[in-house]
Amino acid sequence: MENQLYELTVYVNDKAVRGKVRAEKTLLDFLREHNFTEVKKGCDNGDCGACTVIMDGLAALSCSTTALQAEGRRVYTVKSLGSWEKLHPLQEAFVKHEAVQCGFCSPGFLMTAKALLDNNPMPSRNEIRDAISGNLCRCTGYVKIVDAIEDAASAIEEVSREA
């Protein structure tokens, strides 16, 4: 295994995060080691989507991205969405619809859903199901997650229409 360390800076939730990593270090491990533990390790193999973040506007699996690939780029985790005082409409809808049970997959689902709505503000239920098909949830059976994303899309649309 190559032991050389590379310096890098990743802009996580709009803050510069600097580190020294081996070439094979995943973005997931890099983020978790820098206390972004809201990014979850479910499989470390690109299968479950729990580690999904948004990188340069697109949903990305941080377990299948090396930290060095994120060098100089903007990465957003679920903590960039909303706050205790003001939840993001997606977060609000996930709570309202009980799209959350154990909650372990939720940060990944929320980031996949955010990327979807950023690119397709009013998706159909089928488009929602397509978009989240790379995120696994073992608790809910997905119905309430689809409900929540659909509802959040309407809420965001309504706010932007009023504005």
Binding site: L87, V95, G103, C105, L110, R129, L136, R138, C139, G141
Partner: protein, 765 residues
């Protein structure tokens, strides 16, 4: 003074932790860190059946940054086997002993042999690679029926059959001879993996009082006792602190990481952390038991069941774990929710060199449901009778006697459930192409909630009011994500008349919260809910009596709502809760209560023929599906799904629906795609690329219909729903596939390949 009108119970209230879950604030087991933490990894067997000829850990020990490398010689009491009622005496506890770390023999691929702790996870992994091992392979046995043969290789002792249960009621031979129709078939079910999203993980440290603290993801906080037994230290010196669990489904019921963490932490006196990898979750952890089920069912020409005979064979893998209990469960539930006058069942759980099997949501109820509900549809076809009508003629009624001679203690709302389920499917869908066939099926199930009554289950809870009228509940029950804490919060808030967000629930800490038992067996609401109800009612009674003094009225007339104690008879008689609390404090009256709920207790089962009550009560329900079968590829798509369950009383509607939808999704996975495959004990479905679980594209929009008989033994008449939600999904799918294309589905999962070949066979014949 039983509270009648509810403000919180039966609503769609938001839970106590969902906001933090969506904000990413929850500190799950793997997220917790302490200064100076070591990382632990397990070296596991690469053979399914072998003697360990040589084990050399010197190079691993010598690696810079490695703190400890432990083998069986370093484990004070190297066993984790428990005496499980139902284990056959031929093997018995002593010979089927499960080791924490293997001594001289390994019996399954993935058996733990060495545990290491190092400064970083990478160094721990490097240390594993430096361990030298030589095996001498032993003949293995990988099929439970092969393992039952006298000359089969023995896994432990002299007999691979480690459990045997039976039912005997009436005379099946005579009844079959007198039956107008008899159907017979052999069914097979898969080895399902729990595939919870959060891997087993945790952190252990020895504190400044010499107590080992283990903060980890577990369904059983009482495992501190097992850890103490392994280390040979007092139980009072092991504290387990449960985390919010990232899913479990029975997968975090047996021992997981706690003993490894404790061993390393005790040896190094440093904090130690570990998490299973997804692959390790596959080959290092127990699964659902695969079953072979041979069923013979008879009926009269007008559709009354006359007799049922079954042989059940389950693959328990290389160790006993909870196999005898799972088998007991299957045996009692093998008749389905039907009154059958003549029953003969023989059930066996058999050791093999396959991956171990143990608890999984459904706990032996799913395998038999696939068989008994497939049999019912086969009978309906043979009798040319509507499958709904056939079932209605045979459903248990309240008070009927089961085949283990136990009276059904609660309402059986299956007539309503099956009608609503079939009706809710709505108009039949049109096929989406010329090779597509649409079909419908449904299945009914029964599933007990609460542990077996001979286990003498209890749960404790503590409720206390604060000076400002808010409240704290302390209850040991872990939160599995199903809203276990939220249910007890709702019960306390309702009874004390205070808003939900002014009640705080502390749970799952073996030295802080009163023990409430495991979050398993669909017992959490039933047991910890009842315990919290008892404790909250005690506090409520104190408040109402003091308020009655203050208002000069009778306590019976008083209720509490929105922190106001008021008389339901005289509207002018009311006093703020806070004022009553202050009066209690001034007079030294305790406004705290610890109480314990006891489930039904019965004697230990002494014979392998089950002739006595075993369960507290049952939940009854129906699931119905519409499927589309592609006759060219064999692919089955589920178009519609309906679940109707009598939950007794829904404490929270959203969460009840969540259980019904989530359980159904796992049941559909079991029906159509999930099987942890091994070839001669070596796994071939390593991770979630190969082991498929349903995605959002596999599960349709589901319709959950909640019935409330209010006849259950849980709080306010509730029954349990965690496990009953999964049971009937698979037979509903099997029956729908038969309806669509006329093939019998006898072997789950009904993969495209299996359905395709069955279609070919049908075409040729």
């Amino acid at each position: 003074m039983e509270k009648q009108n509810f403000n919180i119970i039966g609503t769609r209230a938001d839970g106590c932790d969902e906001k933090d879950k969506v904000l990413g604030n929850v500190v799950y087991a793997e997220d917790y860190i302490m200064p100076d933490t070591l990382y632990c990894k397990v070296f596991r067997s690469a053979k399914a059946s072998a003697m360990i000829k040589k084990l050399n850990i010197d190079k691993a020990k010598a690696l810079d940054g490695v703190s400890c490398v432990l083998t069986h010689e370093d484990v004070p009491n190297n066993e984790s086997a428990k005496n499980v009622v139902g284990q056959t005496t031929e093997v018995g506890l002593l010979e089927a002993k499960q080791r924490i770390l293997a001594t001289d023999r390994v019996r399954y691929y993935g058996e733990p042999i060495v545990v290491v702790a190092a400064e970083t996870p990478e160094l721990a992994r490097d240390a594993l690679e430096l361990i030298e091992i030589e095996y001498e392979e032993l003949p293995g046995v990988f099929d439970p029926e092969e393992a039952m043969k006298p000359d089969a290789p023995k896994i432990h002792g002299d007999n691979n059959v480690i459990a045997n249960w039976a039912l005997r009621k009436g005379d099946v031979e005579k009844a079959f001879a007198e039956s107008d129709v008899v159907v017979e078939a052999e069914y097979r079910t898969p080895r399902q993996e729990h595939a919870h999203m959060e891997p087993e993980s945790g952190l252990a440290w020895v504190d400044d009082m010499g107590v080992i603290n283990i903060r980890y993801s577990t369904q059983v906080v009482e495992h501190y006792r097992d850890v103490a037994a392994v280390l040979g230290i007092p139980e009072s010196r092991v504290r387990t602190i449960g985390t919010i669990i990232g899913g479990g489904f029975g997968g975090k019921e047996d021992l997981t990481v706690e003993v490894f963490l404790a061993l390393c932490s005790w040896n190094t006196k440093r904090p130690v952390k570990m998490a299973f990898s997804r692959e390790e979750m596959g080959f290092g952890r127990q699964k659902r038991h695969p079953y072979v089920l041979r069923y013979k069912t008879g009926a009269t020409k007008d559709g009354k069941l006359t007799a049922m005979q079954a042989e059940l064979i389950s693959d328990s893998g290389a160790y006993v774990m909870l196999s005898p209990w799972v088998l007991l469960y299957s045996t009692v539930h093998s008749t389905g929710p039907y009154f059958i006058p003549n029953v003969k069942v023989d059930a066996y759980s058999v050791l093999t060199n396959n991956i171990m099997t143990s608890a999984f949501r459904g706990f032996g109820g799913m395998q038999v449901a696939f068989a008994y509900e497939s049999q019912m549809d086969a009978l309906a076809i043979k009798l040319n009778m509507d499958p709904v009508e056939l079932r209605k003629k045979n459903f248990f009624k309240r008070g009927d006697e089961t085949a283990n001679f136990q009276s059904i203690p609660s309402e059986v709302m299956l007539d309503e459930a099956v009608e609503k389920a079939v009706e809710a499917l709505g108009p039949k869908s049109e096929p989406s192409g010329k090779n597509m066939r649409v079909g419908r099926g449904f299945a009914c199930s029964w599933q007990s909630y609460g542990r077996m009554t001979y286990l003498h289950d209890t749960a404790s809870s503590w409720v206390g009011l604060e000076m400002d009228g808010s409240a704290v509940v302390r209850c040991g029950i872990p939160d599995l994500g199903g809203g276990q804490r939220e249910s007890i919060r709702a019960i306390a808030a309702e009874l004390l008349g205070i808003p939900l967000d002014e009640v705080h629930v502390i749970s799952t800490d073996s030295q802080v919260t009163p023990l409430a038992g495991t979050v398993t067996a669909t017992r959490a609401l039933f047991m910890s809910g009842n315990a919290t109800k008892l404790a909250a009612e005690n506090v409520r009674e104190v408040i109402l009596e003091k308020a009655a003094d203050m208002l000069e009225t009778a306590a019976e007339d008083l209720d509490i709502e929105n922190k106001m104690v008021y008389s339901s008879r005289q509207t002018d008689k009311k006093v703020e809760l806070v004022k009553v609390i202050r009066r209690c404090a001034a007079e030294g009256i305790s406004i705290q209560s610890l109480d314990t709920y006891k489930a039904a207790f019965t004697d230990e089962i002494k014979t392998n023929v089950i002739k006595d009550p075993v369960y507290n009560d049952w939940t009854f329900g129906t699931q119905a599906v519409e499927v589309e079968v592609d006759t060219e590829t064999g692919k089955v798509n589920v178009l519609k799904h309906v679940s109707v369950q009598d939950v007794g009383r829904a404490i929270n509607i959203k969460r009840t629906e969540g259980q019904m939808e989530g359980g159904a999704a796992q049941g559909l996975g079991f029906a159509l795609m999930e099987d942890y495959l091994e070839v001669d004990g070596v796994p071939i479905t390593w991770n979630l690329t190969e082991y498929l679980v349903p995605t959002s594209k596999d599960i349709p929009d589901s319709n959950s219909i909640i019935l409330e008989s209010r006849s259950g033994k849980g709080p306010f008449g509730a029954k349990g729903i965690g496990e009953p939600s999964i049971t009937a999904a698979a037979p509903a799918v099997a029956n729908a596939i038969r309806d669509a294309v006329g093939i019998k589905v006898l072997h789950l999962p009904a993969t495209p390949e299996r359905v395709f070949w069955e279609l070919q066979k049908k075409h040729q014949s």
